[in-house]
Amino acid sequence: MDKMAEPIIKSRQAQKEVNGIFTEVVCTEFSNYIFVTLTQYGKIGTLISVTPDSRSNDISTPTFSTKVLLGKDEPLTHVCAKNLATFISQEAGNRPVLLGLALKDSSIDTIKEIKDIIKSCKVW
């Protein structure tokens, strides 16, 4: 058996209680995607891809497209995904983000706290 010392895929995870709910974050780096699992169920839940829109030359605020790949496609999912993943994509050199979202609580305070947990799991 050939065991490699360093795994080719870099990942970091954190667990924290957010508003009384056990919350887990796992960030995994791929060369073409940052895969982020945010869960209060221990499951991947709804899978959303967040992709930066290609722009020609303007320097205005970048825009992002969200697409629900698996799960319930509702407006709040897109809002949460964009809110959570935009900064990741920008920090990761405009890489698309694949987001697994399974939250019991999608309140703005929870989203804010989860963003802080993501920041502690930087793999990019």
Binding site: E24, T37, I44
Partner: protein, 124 residues
């Protein structure tokens, strides 16, 4: 409404990496154990090329499987996810990101996964 606690013995998400030299190339495996399922990436470079999801249904002995990302003409991820879902009775996410889909290679890759599942069932 009171919070319904999950009765399973799920102890949180865990990540497990392993690799093996198969047919003159090093194949890397990245597994993420979830509540009632797992995510498994297979590749030789850190690229996320596709993603398939499979889970059992009470209406069909063969688990249902779908490709949520990647080229639909490449069935490797889909069929591997389906076979692993059948074997484990869990929800399975598979990314088969090896550059070529050689059938002899995929057979050896699948055998390597089965071996890991036997040796370390706690990681899946």
């Amino acid at each position: 409404m009171t919070e319904i606690l999950n009765g399973s013995d799920f102890g949180g998400i865990s990540v497990h990496n392993f690799s093996e030299k198969i047919l003159e190339q090093v194949v890397h495996f990245h597994a993420m154990k979830l509540n009632g399922g797992f995510f498994l990436w297979i590749g030789s470079a850190p690229v996320l090329s596709n993603l398939a999801v499979s889970m059992s249904s009470k209406y069909d002995p063969m688990p249902l499987s779908t490709l949520v990302m990647g080229d639909p003409s490449n069935t490797a991820a889909n069929s591997l996810a389906q076979r692993l879902a059948k074997r484990t009775k869990k929800q399975v996410f598979v990314s088969y990101s090896l550059p070529m889909t050689d059938s002899s290679l995929s057979l050896l890759v699948e055998n390597r996964i089965k071996k890991e599942m036997e040796l370390h069932p706690e990681n899946f």
